[in-house]
Symmetry: C2
Subunit: 197 residues, 2 copies
Amino acid sequence: MAYFNIILYDYFETLDAMGPAEVIGYLSESYILRFLSESGGIVKSTQQVPVETLPFAMMETSGVLLIPGGFGIRSLVNNEDYVERVRFFSEKATSVLTVCTGSALLAKTHLLDGRKATTNKTVYEWACSNGPKVNWLKRARWAKDGKYYTASGVSAGLDMIFGFVSDMHGIECANSLAREIEYVWNPDMDDDPFAVL
Amino acid sequence: MAYFNIILYDYFETLDAMGPAEVIGYLSESYILRFLSESGGIVKSTQQVPVETLPFAMMETSGVLLIPGGFGIRSLVNNEDYVERVRFFSEKATSVLTVCTGSALLAKTHLLDGRKATTNKTVYEWACSNGPKVNWLKRARWAKDGKYYTASGVSAGLDMIFGFVSDMHGIECANSLAREIEYVWNPDMDDDPFAVL
């Protein structure tokens, strides 16, 4: 049993966090899903969804880490203490997953330097500017390099999390879950309908 | 400006509520998104996502109503008081949307009698048994009849909410939002990859 830790912050993007939460929530024999924020308490997404969180002090760092994107990332990338916490959590985590501009925050830790990664395609230039040494992929529904999974914008997080489930628990498990939630899974990480070219 | 009221209850299905919330949250010039439950406070989804809610007593009934599906529906369909509240809210609402087994609860109010509706395809027989007089569609990504929109399982709620946005705000608005969140929208309500035949 592993912890699946989702970091939230004010103005996170709802679906970036809740798409993966939906899927991981089905694997309750493998993962304990938790939402954490710097100080704990209620955190609101850009879409005004209020989610209760535990404080970072209660983070069980041995698990999987997921960083959603969202408007809130814009200030967090310039918050050195926050970036340092994310670096610490990411180094400890068995896998680190980001959705959308979550990869911009992870890039700031330098842990993606020299690695393949992707990000939101509508704010592509800005996101990439946070990691000049990252091997950013312009055409990728999601990217995988070692323990780092980075998804393109918002909904791509759903395709990525099925890819993660497929890697960890087998493609039959991923396909079965996708049928269960009636999701038309795109299993090809290179098939990116929103690529910036 | 209209209220967009999402009803939550213990063991709701995360994505049933959060998919539509993601999309409606972008239309903040048209809608005030609110989550409500019978008594208010923190409500947890089947996937253990804790969401803060307002009590039903604070429901602004003039808006749009969305009922997600989930395991919690199984007991609610047998709760006469709850069904009566849902009937009252649904009659007042300008539009009523359900996702997954949410339509089973709505069917219990008899407001769907004689109307086209659909539901989750993996628990299709059970869901339909809650509304013997409903014109249930076995092949439908989502159905629309008057002010009633009913989606098939979980992820179908995303396609339905874009359909709702298209009806209310134009297809350009829907297409633009789908691009924004990098979602491959299925705009054909009859194109159901998970149909029971």
